[in-house]
């Protein structure tokens, strides 16, 4: 029985060992530079990021793509999620609370392949026709939006679908953290004559701050590792461009696309190294987040989300 419980540790160790073993080749050949540098083509003086045929491997475009899409999705999702959480805990009439909470939970249960399917056939055309031209027209002066990519795929689409996917996690954890704040805090602020928003701001959010940060980091962890929906909308081009509307690639997406048909041990080993980096980063991010949430809810069993 103890052995079965210890299997959790065993699983983590097993994954780590297998990933390290498989990526050994790439470690020897590239070392840590794999993540920061790329070989430069001697003829064009441009960096060659990912050329499996000639053996040039650099994870830089994938790291860039993962970080950009994840942080953009956080930008969109966090205000919405906290707004929903505030509405559901403090403002919602009791009758609506249960169905709405159920709906947001349902968002979390939808498999990512279905999000990807919907994104490819509905979201991307919508963004391409209506939103991207507006972005180019009004925000083009920032240099972050240009019209070199008319397909509608790219970081913006990936960020939107990612934000829809991480919203329920952030919102349900924020709700949990907000309900863990004792009522006495709320009543004290109200007794001093605060409006409802001031009560929320001073009584609840201030106490739940740490937990909300934890919830956001957990959402980030999910966004970093999200594979299927991102693969289908990010465009899968291992290049780095300044425009947020350009195609890109993400770490999980390149593994999903190229692993089954990797040509050669070095290619597979490089992909496994990307997987190892993903594993380590998500473990650190998730551990930090869980610790922060636990610090506020103090040991009540965490949700299995």
């Amino acid at each position: 029985m103890v052995l079965c419980a210890l299997s959790i540790f065993g699983i983590v160790l097993l994954i780590f060992l297998e990933l390290t073993r498989q990526s050994h080749l790439a470690w020897i050949k590239f070392g840590f530079h794999f993540f920061f540098q790329a070989d430069i083509d001697p003829y064009t003086h441009q960096p060659i990021y990912w050329d499996p045929v000639n053996g040039h491997f650099s994870a830089l475009p994938f790291v860039y793509g993962t970080l950009v899409s994840s942080f953009m999705s956080l930008l969109i999702a966090v205000p919405l999620a906290i707004g929903v959480a505030i509405f559901l805990t403090e403002m919602c009439p009791r009758v609506l609370r249960s169905p709405l909470a159920f709906l947001t939970e349902l968002l979390a249960a939808i498999p990512s392949i279905i999000y990807g399917l919907w994104a490819v056939f509905v979201l991307v055309p919508l963004l391409r026709e209506y939103v991207n031209p507006l972005l180019i027209k009004y925000l083009g002066w920032t240099g972050l939006f240009d019209d070199t990519n008319p397909t509608g795929l790219g970081f913006v689409s990936a960020a939107v679908i990612l934000s829809i996917m991480i919203l329920p996690i952030i919102s349900s954890l924020t709700r949990e953290v907000m309900t863990a704040v004792p009522h006495s805090q709320r009543e004290a602020v109200l007794a001093l004559g605060a409006t409802r928003w001031e009560m929320i701001r001073m009584g609840v959010l201030r106490n739940a701050r740490i937990g909300i940060v934890g919830a956001v980091i957990l959402g980030l962890g999910r966004a970093l590792g999200e594979t299927m929906a991102v693969t289908m909308v990010i465009g899968n081009t291992p290049e780095i461009h300044k425009s947020l509307l350009s195609n890109g690639a993400s770490m999980a997406a390149v593994i999903a696309n190229e692993y089954a048909e990797a040509n050669g041990d070095l290619h597979r080993s490089a992909l496994t190294e990307i997987g190892l980096a993903l594993f380590v980063v998500t473990i650190i991010v998730n551990a930090t987040a869980r610790f922060l949430v636990w610090a506020v809810t103090r040991g009540a069993p965490a949700r299995v989300n």
Binding site: F9, F87, I113, I283
Partner: protein, 295 residues
């Protein structure tokens, strides 16, 4: 002085109303994509759901017709393999956490690690399963060396274990202590009381926890891409690549054929109906109070 106070009160009231409006707006913005996805899925998928869908294999690209029967059966096979490996380990782990190790630091560490493991992207599990089973290095073990349904089952089992451990621990913790004390008072040894009495009382909850794990794992595509590889034909053998519903949806969605797109929508509808049923059932059972009565 009075003027300033009334202006301040006015600003505070306006802020309060603005925030309320923004919060309602946020909720609407969140609910809209969910409803949109469901409605669109039903609209696109329902017309393609006929008997053919559930009984036929996909036709070659370009030909009209065919179904996803092999993918549905394949998913069931994978789920069965994953359960056989994952459910016993998970429940046993949950029993340890709730009964024998309650409050110990080891139990806290295991619970924390299980939660962290839940957040690891599923593709990493797939890569680990590939390195462990698919890449040929041990020749005398069965199932190794090639893509197989077994490898995919193992990847899914690795994903199920932390979920089942946590939910069965939670369910076991909900069993009232009076039951355990009654058993001990009658002289039943601890292991026996756990097995025959506590587990039995918590079994509806544990089963719903397993269903939650199933529904989560049934929709996973990433770990299957390079462990089971997918199969366009009918196959239930554990030793060969097998079709799986989410994998088939992925392949069809990215293909250029309209008929395959149609099948992908129908498959998604089936998948999401199953998942919604499972989640609703879990929520109904846990909210009703699983352990009313001790029979």
């Amino acid at each position: 002085m009075n003027d300033e106070r009334t202006t301040r009160a006015g600003i505070r009231a306006v802020t309060d109303h603005t925030v309320t409006f923004l919060a309602v707006l946020a909720t609407i913005i969140v609910v809209v994509p969910l409803v949109a996805i469901f409605v669109y899925l039903i609209y696109k998928g329902a017309s393609s759901l006929n008997l053919d869908f559930f009984t036929k294999v996909p036709k070659p690209p370009g030909e009209v017709g065919g179904g996803m029967a092999n993918a549905i059966v394949g998913s069931a096979v994978l789920l069965a393999v994953a359960s056989v490996i994952g459910v016993p380990i998970g429940i046993a782990g949950g029993v340890y956490l709730a009964e024998f190790g309650r409050g110990t630091r080891l139990a806290n560490a295991i619970r924390f690690t299980a939660d962290v493991l839940n957040g690891v992207p599923s593709i990493v599990m797939g890569v680990a399963a590939y390195a462990l089973i698919v890449s040929p290095h041990i020749s005398f073990l069965p199932f190794t060396g090639h893509f197989s349904a077994f490898a995919g089952g193992v990847a899914l089992a690795i994903m199920m274990v932390p979920t089942i451990t946590r939910t069965s621990e939670e369910m076991l913790l909900m069993v009232p202590n009076a039951i355990r004390e009654a058993a001990l008072g009658l002289g039943v040894p601890n292991w026996r009381s756990v097995l025959s009495i506590t587990l039995k009382t918590a079994s509806p909850g544990i089963i719903t926890g397993c269903m939650l794990a199933f529904s989560r794992v049934a929709g996973e595509t990433a770990p299957l891409i390079f462990t089971v590889l997918g199969n366009a034909f009918w196959s239930t053998s554990l030793d060969r690549p097998i079709a799986a519903l989410p994998l088939q949806i992925y392949v069809f969605a990215l293909s250029p054929y309209d008929d395959w797109h149609r099948l992908a929508w129908a498959g998604s509808l089936v998948l999401i109906v199953l998942i919604v049923l499972a989640v609703s059932l879990v929520r109904y059972v846990t909210s009703r109070g699983v352990l009313k009565g001790t029979s």
